[in-house]
Subunit: 190 residues, 2 copies
DNA sequence: ATTTTAAACTAACAATCGTTAGTTTTGTTA
DNA sequence: TAACAAAACTAACGATTGTTAGTTTAAAAT
């Protein structure tokens, strides 16, 4: 997918607006105004509002997919895999805050094949995460718990970390990584 | 706030629809259709779409406020307070799944005094949670970590637990409570 | 049986939505 | 400088939005 400079400006401005109010609450006139042009002018660069949403979300989804595919077959133990996943979530949170928020909040407004692609990627991601956790339990590195709830506990925090980060942008990724590793893997009780 | 039977049906049907697609993606005609009446008929019972959203969200927000206000001054230690908070989140997740999802996803579409009330309640809630965590660290019951990130780690999972529950409705609140207590407080590592 | 009330209806409104067509401006290349 | 391409513009479209006015139907109270 080739993105011209202007198209990229449109997409990233859209991501910023979508994050704040949601896809359906941002009109093409809102988006145009943020770029200081008229709504009709947007269509010199993009084919539809839907296309903008798909570009934003699918790119981030592909980032997650690529990372889990590299970490999954590696011969490291499951805790190290989880740490790598945490690190990746933090990186995407920091580098693509707006797009990540769109993915979380507006994926259900994707249509047809884009929605299908997203769901395929999400399901595959969760299946691989589940696998890592199962492996960790088998190898006695993780506590023997309800796998689905462990999976959810991890992902719920990692997926919404952008909410915290957008109010704490001065925080270094390193600090976030160390703290979240502790909170998520070791808990908070002394 | 007095809610007639019919008004309650409208509000709870709205909550169900808002959860799936978001406030601004559900039209009054959509809502009316789900109730098998015409859109204009809704206005015999409610004054505006906004009113519906405010009723849904503020009621849940008040539930959270009430609970934290009872648990806060009690002379129990901070871990017991956190456990009580977890339990309350699970109860609301189970009993008011749709309304909780609306609160999470659509609070920013509240207007004026309703938005103001919501934010006041949310800020007070987070401040009290923060206080519990600080107390726990001082009393050496909790690890000495970044307080804001501990707070976020807990709340991010508790707030979005409805996402998991709506796909796992057969799970008992007791099981959820025990597992989440473990995951959130003690971590997942063996 | 008559009146009253509650809750549905039809029809329409002004505003806003995403998008298209056709035109003008701007900047680059020949 | 003339020609071309990129990117803006104005104007408008049909559809949909939340909501109002006025009317009819159904149920309850007198």
């Amino acid at each position: 997918m080739k993105l011209t400079r202007r198209k990229l400006e449109i997409v990233s401005t859209a991501a910023k607006l979508f994050r704040k109010k949601g896809y359906n609450s941002v009109s093409m006139r809102d988006l145009a105004q943020a770029l200081d042009i008229k709504a009709a002018s947007l269509y010199n660069h993009i084919s539809s509002k839907q296309e903008i949403l798909a570009i934003i979300i699918l790119e981030v989804a592909e980032n997650f997919t690529e990372h889990i595919n590299t970490v999954f077959p590696e011969s490291i133990n499951s805790v190290e895999k989880l740490e790598s996943v945490i690190e990746n979530h933090i990186q995407i949170t920091v580098e693509k805050t707006n797009a990540l928020a769109c993915l979380n909040n507006d994926w259900m407004h994707l249509e047809q094949s884009d929605l299908e692609s997203y769901l395929v990627m999400r399901n595959a991601y969760e299946a691989k995460m589940r696998n890592i956790i199962e492996q960790g339990i088998q190898q006695k590195q993780l506590q023997d718990r309800n796998i689905d709830l462990v999976l959810f506990s991890l992902l719920s925090t990692l997926r919404t970390l952008h909410l915290w980060y957008s109010k704490n942008k001065e925080t270094s990724p390193q600090l976030m990584f160390e703290e979240m590793k502790q909170n998520l893997l070791h808990g908070i009780i002394r």
